[in-house]
């Protein structure tokens, strides 16, 4: 069995609980005193930081939600002065404004440590050559994996995403042993390797740490067969930290939550009540050691369940099942968060009216996710010239790309061809089979 920090990862549950309580009290005080949004939430219901004495008091704390980030854009959720913030990342918000997160030097060190546990659980050591094919930039994937691998002392190849030919060449020439990327990109690499006639069983590539988007056991089997690796699921979100919030061990039976740094709860997304142990619901995180961005009961909108039975690997951390869906309408396309409301805002800007549109997401075997946006042409939009319509398509596509950072195919369709449903319009057709 592989461990980066066996002492922490196999900590006795009673000791873990005591540690969580102690850290929770500190975090609550820190958040209340330094983030106006938390103070307001507490004051509104007459809750004092001192009322939170241990884990049993946790459900008293009001939830934090994604819109808190928008309402306090860009740095209002930070609990430390900007002098102490050494890194800023950002992900999509539900509208034009992104969700901005910050890290102190200690936060970055913690993140590196937790990513080291993640990579270590798949046997990564300082002898490994780690190819990081997550995107580098505002997205947390690239730098998160990078710092974790460096923490271990592996040789890191910061190749970032894309350029599949080059990825394969470097993988072969440098002898990469570890791959970090999205599962759909791993599938694509496997397909491309096969087409290029590369026998992956002859390369030293051994394990992949795949996350940032939902995937399935079928995809795991395909990736493992095509790349000849163990494919492990990793989980994180920038609001909570980034990759490394939870991670699979070689048992591949769920993702161990780094419970000494985060408390996971499962709630009923409709009522906000805790669900019975082991039941499915929405995942909620409270951070325990974060300085720049403490999080109290943050609703992830990810649907899963927790299993606190002992894992054969020896880790005492509870496991979350791979994410099974969302309690909101967010889509994850090639690792990028996309909300239908973002697409709507682009169309409103262009059309000046309420648009009728449909988002169609598909994933062909061995291909990356494809997103198409179908837009009904209104009399105001239509022209008698093809080039005007083509330029309209290009404009919509360009504006969507600028906002989302991913390419989108725009297709103009006839009016009234997109189904109108009773009440809330159906805006998304997701043809990816993500829940097998």
């Amino acid at each position: 069995m592989y461990f980066w920090d066996k002492e922490a990862e196999c900590m006795d549950r009673a000791k873990l609980r005591a540690l969580q309580s102690e850290r929770l009290r500190k975090t609550v005080k820190h958040a209340y005193e330094n983030v106006a949004a938390y103070k307001t939430k507490f004051d509104e219901i007459g809750l004092e930081p001192e009322d939170i004495k241990d884990l049993d008091d946790l459900p008293k704390i009001p939830f934090a939600v994604k819109s808190d980030f928008r309402d306090n854009y860009p740095f209002g959720m930070f609990a430390v002065p900007m002098d102490d913030v050494v890194r800023i990342h950002a992900s999509s918000g539900t509208t034009g404004k992104s969700t901005v997160v910050g890290y102190t030097r200690n936060d970055i060190a913690t993140w590196a440590e937790l990513m080291a546990r993640t990579l270590g659980a798949g046997g990564t050591t300082k002898s490994d050559i780690v190819q990081v094919a997550y995107g580098y930039g505002l997205f947390t994937g690239g730098l998160g994996a990078h710092y974790g691998a460096e923490r271990i002392g592996s040789s890191v190849i910061p190749i970032s995403g894309g350029n599949t030919k080059r990825q394969l060449q470097i993988m072969e020439d440098f002898g990469s042993t570890v791959l970090c990327c999205t599962p759909s990109y791993a599938l694509l690499l496997g397909e491309a390797a096969r087409e290029a006639g590369i026998d992956m069983s002859k390369t030293p590539l051994r394990v992949g740490f795949l996350g940032a988007e939902p995937w399935t056991e079928n995809m795991r089997r395909e990736i493992e067969a095509s790349l000849h690796i163990d494919a492990l699921d990793i989980y994180g979100l920038s609001e909570v930290m980034g990759p490394g919030v939870s991670y699979e061990c070689m048992e591949k039976g769920g993702l161990h939550v780094n419970e000494d740094h985060f408390i996971a709860e499962i709630i009923n997304p409709d009522t906000g009540e805790l669900v019975p142990p082991g039941a499915r619901g929405e995942l909620v995180f409270t951070s325990l050691t974060k300085e720049a961005l403490p999080l109290l009961r943050y609703r992830t909108r990810d649907i899963t369940y927790l299993d606190d039975s002992q894992c054969p690997c020896g880790r005492s951390f509870a496991r979350m099942h791979r994410v099974m869906g969302r309690s909101d309408d967010m889509l994850i396309i090639r690792g990028v968060n996309v909300f239908p409301s973002q697409i709507e805002s682009v169309l409103i800007d262009i059309e000046g009216t309420e648009p009728h549109y449909l988002i169609v997401v598909d994933r062909q075997p061995g291909q990356m996710d494809e997103m198409e946006v179908w837009v009904e042409v209104s009399p105001e939009l239509v022209s008698d010239e093809v080039r005007a319509l083509e330029s309209l398509e290009r404009k919509i596509s360009h504006d969507l790309h600028s906002l989302l950072g991913i390419s989108v195919k725009v297709k103009l369709v006839e009016p009234k061809t997109i189904a109108r449903s009773e009440g809330k319009a159906k805006r998304v057709i997701d043809r990816r089979e993500l829940n097998q």
Partner: protein, 143 residues
């Protein structure tokens, strides 16, 4: 001088052109000329009809997106070089042709070609000064 042309947006799927033409039949509309510009996903059907206003409301009621565009119906001598002469006049005037297509039927010895020209109001006097005959909507419909 100008003639109203209908442009109908249709997706490239079987039966849509039939739907348009059947709707026009039901509205007792006669098609005098047409052309289709197409891309992979959709096409624009351009129509000259005997009653553009009635045709537009018929098609809109049938659920189509329709725009009216002003075009010129120009008499073109039915002989080698006839069309070239007219296009040259436009080129000399610095006027671009967006698109053009032939009209079904003729005016005496001459063919009729539908022109969509940018800056159409400038084009009319230039053409007329060179003796080019432009048909009115009524003339066109009575052919």
């Amino acid at each position: 001088m100008k003639v109203s042309q209908l442009s109908v947006f249709i997706e490239n799927k079987s039966g849509r052109l039939a739907d348009v033409t059947r709707a026009l039949e039901n509205g007792r509309i006669n098609i005098r000329a047409l052309s289709i510009a197409d891309t992979i996903d959709y096409g624009l059907l351009r129509l000259i009809v005997n009653d553009p206003a009635a045709a537009k409301s018929t098609l809109v009621n049938a659920g189509f997106t329709v725009t009216l565009t002003e075009v010129l119906a120009i008499e073109v001598p039915d002989k080698p070089g006839g069309l070239a002469d007219i296009i040259e006049i436009l080129a000399e005037g610095g006027l671009n042709i967006e698109y053009m297509y032939a009209f079904v039927g003729a005016s005496g010895e001459n063919a009729i070609v539908i022109f969509r020209i940018e800056r159409i109001d400038e084009a009319i006097p230039i053409l007329q000064s060179k003796g080019v005959r432009i048909l009115t909507g009524d003339e066109l419909h009575s052919l």
